[in-house]
Symmetry: C2
């Protein structure tokens, strides 16, 4: 695609179609909840229009306003911020029970909450997570179809492209968003399907190998053993909801991912990209694990936010996701730092602190939280991704009999 002649409006409808037809597979009578930053209102309207065109019977649009949220954090007492009204929880559960599909549009000012009292931000998020625990658990267990996609908005675009004027930055970010989902290929739907097939091939290999653990090494100093629970499942981009309907949870998605054994992680891991936590950047950090738990950590910037993540609860000190991403993906090749997990996580191997996806264990979606923990799956109110891969990342899989298989070499899959 020639960027010079690129017009956003020539591709928006294709993008929305890719999301709703291939991502969420919207069909007659479906209910759809759209969660969208207020700055991407036109995009929300376009998604709504297209969803009805595809047969949706009800669409609910929820706008999020970070400027209002920031004013709340700055001016409201902790009592007010942590008092989550019942009607708010009821609303989320209401559409979940009706098996609505969820389209979450990401697009946020990476600096939205910069300088906001970290303690207040943390306790307020925690109260929200607690109130919505059941809702989030159902979402993560794929009770319904859900997808996270990006939309270009001025505050985000000018952060990613600080040298461009606003309109041009927004256009450029749309270009990168479209590129990341292969929208410029001749047949984007086919390109996406092929890509999903590839990821499924990697997953199949990893699942059949029945590794006991993965060993990570990199020039930056990472030296980490990541144990895997018995019956682990690496999943690709494709998911299946509780009614057996397929969906793609992230667009873009370049990862295959599973769950580490909650007590099986040992060693040291270095971050390779900044972590954006509620608009605050945590940069150049490392974590040291012993028997699954973080026992030491440091960061060149934003250490207090890292502390807040780890302090969320017991589970926040342990890993809940292990994700493998080749260094040579379309996103990674563009060398753009998006300050947004959806994109940056697809540029690099990563882990997440916090809750595991129950679907990453055989039969996991039918187990209680206690049963999941007994089988090595982590539980927490949080789930925060952080990037650890670079062009020197080597990963070796070790089977129960001691056999070693090279999975990553110089940052890329070699299977």
């Amino acid at each position: 695609m020639d960027y010079k002649n690129f017009k956003v409006e020539d591709y928006i409808e294709k993008y929305v179609e890719l999301i709703l037809k291939v991502g969420l597979k919207i069909k007659d009578g479906d209910k759809l909840v759209v969660r969208c930053p207020i700055e991407a209102r036109d995009f929300a309207v376009e998604c709504t229009r297209k969803a009805y065109e595809l047969g949706a019977g009800e669409v609910v649009v929820d706008y999020r306003d970070q400027l209002i949220s920031r004013l709340k954090y700055e001016n409201e007492s902790l009592d007010v911020l942590t008092d989550i009204p019942k009607h708010k929880v009821d609303k989320e559960n209401y559409y979940m029970e009706k098996k609505a599909k969820y389209l979450s549009v990401t697009g946020s000012d990476p600096d939205a909450f910069k300088g906001v009292d970290a303690e207040k931000l943390f306790k307020s998020n925690l109260a929200n997570s607690k109130a919505l625990r059941d809702f989030s658990a159902k979402m993560m267990a794929n009770y319904v179809s859900w997808i996270v996609v990006g939309a270009s908005i001025p505050s985000w675009a000018t952060k990613v492209f600080p040298d461009l004027e606003k309109g041009e930055a927004v256009r450029r970010l749309w270009f990168e968003i479209f590129n990341s989902v292969r929208l410029f290929e001749e047949d984007p739907i086919k390109a996406l399907e092929n890509h999903v097939d590839n990821l499924n091939r990697y997953s199949k290999f990893l699942n059949e190998a029945k590794f006991e653990k993965l060993i990570y090494k990199s020039q930056k100093g990472t030296d980490l053993e990541v144990g895997l629970p018995k019956g682990y499942i690496f999943a690709g981009a494709g998911d299946v909801n509780s009614d057996g309907e397929e969906f793609i949870a992230n667009m873009p998605s370049e990862e295959v991912f599973s769950a580490p054994r909650l007590d099986g992680v040992n060693g040291k891991v270095y971050s390779t990209l900044p972590l954006n936590y509620n608009g605050n950047l945590i940069e150049d950090f490392y974590l040291v694990f012993k028997d699954g738990e973080v026992v030491d950590y440091d960061a060149k910037a934003g250490k207090e936010y890292l502390k807040n993540i780890l302090d969320t609860d017991e589970g926040a000190k342990r890993l809940g996701e292990v994700a493998l991403v080749s260094y040579n993906t379309p996103i990674s090749m563009r060398k753009v730092l998006f300050y947004n997990t959806l994109y940056d996580e697809n540029a690099s191997c990563h882990f997440a602190l916090g809750k595991s996806y129950p679907t990453c264990l055989e039969g996991g979606e039918k187990l209680s939280i206690e049963e999941l923990k007994e089988r090595g799956m982590n539980d927490s109110l949080t789930h925060v991704d952080f990037m650890v891969g670079d062009e020197t990342t080597e990963i070796i899989g070790v089977k129960e009999n001691g056999e070693e298989v090279q999975i990553f070499k110089e940052g890329n899959f070699v299977i």
Copy 2:
């Protein structure tokens, strides 16, 4: 004020201050609910910021999106549209119970729902009104402080000023909005307070006269007797909530208003301005009343929407408000048709079909709906204003002893 050099940003903060300080009297610890069209987001943010500055302890912003609403009306079944989820009602009641103050920002595309199936619009609005009956009743009885104000948005501004390009139309509409609340006077707060005093003087006169009925005549053909219930109260711009706090419910407000006797209206009344009902215009219509009830009507355009209003319920066929507005008010003098009741009602004497304000009867806010009806106060799920005054309007008040007092002459107050 010289329009040529007028800059919106020079007056926005003054306007917001007038609303929050004089209109709602925001003080330490107040809760505030802001209901705002999504196109006026910047205005909502400014109101939120200022509310906290004045001490508000919590601000909740609810955005309304007419584009999404229209798509809903066009695509969702009546079953879906009329099924109002409990959490939605709970939310409204929650903040009402907490005695939040309500700031409703009007600013809507007059053509937003043009062409939408009238039946669907009607039944869907009816379901909503029924679900929120308790909430609305409390609002109308001034249980809490509330205010309706305007904000200029493109779709509205270009309808009012079709010959101006978008940006200029928005600027011009802001100018008219500011002018309507006397913001260009040297001391707008004092100007507003003086104006409210004037309206209170009219109210006092009308209340002390204890009229039995008002007789309306105009060149257009209006010839109508409007009976008043015993103990009627004409209210001016100033109101008092259930905690004794003063507020101003409409800004601008040029009216003094009360409730007609539900069975005491006889004769024929002609509209003098189009009525915008959910984005549909009802033009050049008349109503014929017998013993309070509409027994005949016609309209040159939009008759089906007029029919829908009247068919809402029994009370929708009777009057619930009688409002006196001089023809020579700042709004009226500008000769701008706003296609918006908040403004157009202040350019003209008007009535409303539907529910009366309980506060328009002595002790009314403590009476049940049945008790209110026994005393002549109308009840309904709806309340729709329509304009009847012009420069020829004459109004005579008739006392119980037959004494006649001229109240309006050639469109203006003469008391």
